[in-house]
């Protein structure tokens, strides 16, 4: 599905799925999870790739689940506090799955084009554009710094010193990002920056787009009508 479906439709379907999940019970969440599963299969994203993407947020998800379970006794959940906590965790899981599916099939430039086409305020699309564009450079910068640290402090195993160096290291990418942003801004000005980031317009909708929007839209609508 990567690059095969119009990104505007993907944004709209994701938004509809997220809103639906936020106000749904188990039955409707199950329907949404099934929709995610079908789209996942069509997109051909491997479970390993999904797992790698989900891995950084697993601790957060666990923390959220535990917090919800602990706080569950104060909730108005039907069928017990644990059920209510489980419902909250399930909603989070389905939204996260939809988000991961969406991000795995929509490259950042496509997302920017879609948001621009959907009349998203320009400062938001510009910020998204630059952050996605330079995320990779910052990751590389951090990797270089990690290698330099490993090479220069190979024999240094004192935990306190290591922690101190690491804490300083954390702030360096920010400094470097600032320096780089200054240079990039100068280059943009030199190239005639007039406050407009050219976004390539999107083409017309295809039959595939119509099928995707029709299927996903009908499924979500049906889940609202027939499930709780």
């Amino acid at each position: 599905m990567k690059g095969r479906v119009d990104p505007r439709l993907k944004v709209l379907v994701f938004a509809a799925a997220a809103v639906t999940a936020a106000f749904s019970g188990f039955a409707r969440l199950g329907a949404l999870a099934f929709l995610c599963l079908v789209l996942h299969a069509i997109a051909g994203i491997s479970l390993r790739k999904l797992w790698l993407r989900i891995l950084p947020v697993v601790p957060l998800l666990l923390f959220l689940s535990v917090t919800l379970i602990i706080a569950g006794h104060r909730g108005p959940g039907r069928g017990g506090e644990l059920l209510h906590s489980g419902l909250m965790a399930s909603r989070t899981f389905v939204i996260l799955w939809a988000l991961l599916l969406f991000s795995a099939t929509t490259p950042p430039p496509e997302l920017v084009r879609a948001l621009a086409a959907l009349r998203c305020p320009r400062p938001a699309t510009d910020i998204l554009f630059f952050s996605s564009r330079y995320q990779r450079l910052l990751v590389r910068e951090a990797e270089r710094m990690r290698q330099a640290l490993a090479v220069r402090a190979a024999a240094n195993r004192k935990a306190l010193l290591k922690a101190r160096v690491l804490s300083r290291l954390l702030s360096r990418p920010v400094d470097k990002a600032f320096e780089r942003s200054e240079r990039i801004h100068a280059a943009m000005l030199a190239r005639g920056w007039a406050g407009r980031l050219p976004v390539r317009p999107l083409g017309r909708f295809s039959l595939r787009d119509a099928l995707f929007a029709g299927f996903a839209g009908a499924w979500i609508s049906a889940s609202w009508m027939f499930l709780r």
């Binding site: 564009r133 780089r180 240079r183 990039i184 000005l189 030199a190 190239r191 007039a194 050219p198």
Partner: protein, 246 residues
């Protein structure tokens, strides 16, 4: 000959008071290829950033007949193409062709005409097969070419190159020299690579500690070992070979 760019008694201090430029004066004539040479920290990049108003100090900078000022800065920048030392700072759009289109679309060109011209210019730089490639996937030499293409599409009256051969392998460096020779036009190259300067420039200005130390015929200046050594440089291999000293 008409002057494309002139500096008249330009001085600049960095925040903190350290002098970066001291009374720099010289001009560049149409069609000239000028080298700005000097040791690290001599003020080469700082001076060049004055040409399109990215830095402003004391004295006067003129592009053609116009003094560089806030009022005409857009017009000035459209006439000067600036290729930065690190192409990663200069190339920021998601694909090569989108990056080349950045300048024209900001200048209000119609998209179809801009796309056609961008494809032509990328083809001429040997990047015709990379139009939809992410710049991240290009080699450094290709990135430099893409940056140069993004500048040349605007058909600038003057091209400024800051350390154009920095970090390039010999093959990429050779191809860049070929491209620059083919492009012609008025050009300023700030470089430590004196062999590159020997091959591509007719005139050289030697800058040290923010002041102009020498200004003259490039090859004569690059043969002056005493002068170069006094300012942290040395006679390039090309000059020694030409004089039969190697």
């Amino acid at each position: 000959m008409s002057s494309v760019l002139s500096f008249s008694r330009v001085s600049y201090e960095y925040p903190g008071g350290r002098a970066a430029l001291r009374d720099v004066s010289f001009s560049v004539e149409a069609g000239e290829s000028l080298a700005l040479i000097g040791p690290s920290g001599a003020g080469k990049t700082t001076l060049l950033l004055h040409a399109n108003g990215l830095l402003r100090g004391r004295g006067e900078v003129r592009v053609g007949e116009e003094p560089v000022s806030r009022e005409n800065i857009s017009r000035i920048r459209a006439r000067i193409g600036f290729v930065f030392q690190d192409p990663n700072d200069q190339i920021f759009m998601p694909t090569v062709i989108e990056d080349v289109l950045f300048g024209p679309l900001n200048a209000g060109w119609e998209r179809p005409a801009a796309v056609e011209r961008a494809a032509q210019i990328l083809e001429s730089f040997g990047l015709g097969g990379e139009l939809e490639t992410s710049p991240d996937r290009l080699s450094l030499g290709q990135k430099k070419k893409a940056a140069l293409a993004g500048v040349m599409i605007m058909d600038p009256a003057l091209v400024i190159l800051d350390e154009p051969t920095a970090n390039l392998d010999p093959g990429s460096r050779r191809r860049l020299i070929g491209d620059l020779g083919r492009l012609g036009g008025t050009r300023i190259s700030a470089s430590h690579d004196l062999d590159f300067v020997w091959e591509t420039c007719r005139r050289a200005v030697l800058l040290d500690k923010g002041a102009v130390v020498a200004d003259g015929d490039c090859r004569e200046l690059l043969r002056d070992g005493e002068l170069l050594e006094a300012h942290g440089l040395e006679v390039p291999l090309s000059a020694r070979l030409a004089d039969g000293k190697e």
